[in-house]
Amino acid sequence: MEPTKFVYMDHAATTPVHPDALEAMLPYFSQLYGNPSSLYTLAQDGAKALDDARQRIADVLGCRGNEIIFTSGGTESDNTALRGAASALKHTGNHIITQTTEHHAILHACEELEKSGFDITYLSPDKTGLITPNQVEQAITEKTILVTIMMANNEIGTVQPISEIADVIKEKSSKLSRNIVMHTDAVQAPGLLDINLRELQVDMLSLSAHKFYGPKGVGVLYVRRHTPFLPQQLGGSQERNRRGGTENVPGAVGTSIALEIASREREASVEHCLRLRNKLIDSMLKIPGTHLNGHPTERLANNVNISFDQVEGESILLNLDFSGIAASSGSACTAASLEPSHVLVGIGLQAQMAQGSLRLTLGRGNTDEEIDYVLSLIPKMVERLRSMAPQPLP
């Protein structure tokens, strides 16, 4: 039963490298391979490519080239932001604010900071996944040094009012005349949300290239000028002494081209995804015993997250895979751990409902035909799995 078609609806997990990004990378593997730290022409070509990539990214984000640090991915960016700011500010306070539905790259780094003496407040979002600027404001104490709230959630797609939250923090920060650093994990944003650092009052921001049609293993950490920050990866003097290690030149080049394309095509892509997404949501909610997870409108244009009563996520994913459809679930049985998605639990779902969740995340390549194909299969799959389930106890 080999799949006859292939329909990729897991763009929040990863994306293919855009052909233009890959093409831009290719010369830097085996031809212009010089180490940017070296003196000679070959190496200066690499150094220039790296500088250009950095500036390209800065131009998209609305910041300066020297505020961009290349990392190895979203996880390193998140870990580094938190550790970098916390260690730089630990003499001024030890309180950090985040929310329960952040990515594990944030949550696990917070847990580690807790062990070394930091106090973490984990805000609870409402049942749509939203937290309010007021919630953040209330949580600030005279020891608060860092707030990290993601721009958009990777599982349920809820988009936080990050600009308002940042404003509140900057206000509080100047009222208390203390430095409170604001970080946002924007890994899910590129190509879907506008990021303009001239207006957005965040001090740090994380990106991961493979989420926006760039290469895996490359991340970006934006650190606004004058932000208290101690480097975490220590070695050579690369990245203006903020991250040691020979630079991944092709990776940086590919990332910059992918980000530029994502930004350029954002509006068209959002419009396209939104239409397909709404079609998916509307049709799937017609199946009895279904529930939309996340916010009805404050959600990423490409995110569908639905729970099915009496169905387990992995089973539906495998059935979809048999039909050539790639999707994801917050079910514990699809994770290495035995816990269902902390995000779904974090917005108050019963473990049971978290088990039955299905996430479809769209990309600019998805078509109406693909949506119709998926919609033609899901009701039958759900029905069949339900017919195999024991009746709920009365």
Binding site: E312, G313, E339, P390
Partner: protein
Amino acid sequence: MPKYNAIIMDHFQNPQNVGEFEDADGIGLEENPICGDKTQIWIRVHDDLITDIRFKTQGCAAAIATSSVCTVHAKGMALEEAKSLSPNDVANWAGGLPRAKIHCSVLAADALRSAISDYEKHPR
């Protein structure tokens, strides 16, 4: 992600003995409190043998497939033998399970055991 073997995949796609008996001699239901998977087993008993068996499972591929495998092997088995089946036996019949999925094979063996004890408590 766990990689399933061909036996599991086959039983997941074509599970055997799915369904229930209205007139079962014993019924057992087990639920995994952590991941929420559930298996229910219905048995018919004659002369201390399991003459027929049905199951329903809500759960992942491993839970569904091991239930199916378990019913296939349990059909025709003496009650005494079936009572002493371990999750390991079920996992072995299924050709082995990914490490993270071992707990799934517990459900079928447990549900079968509880169906037998239901029968023994209330022989019909």
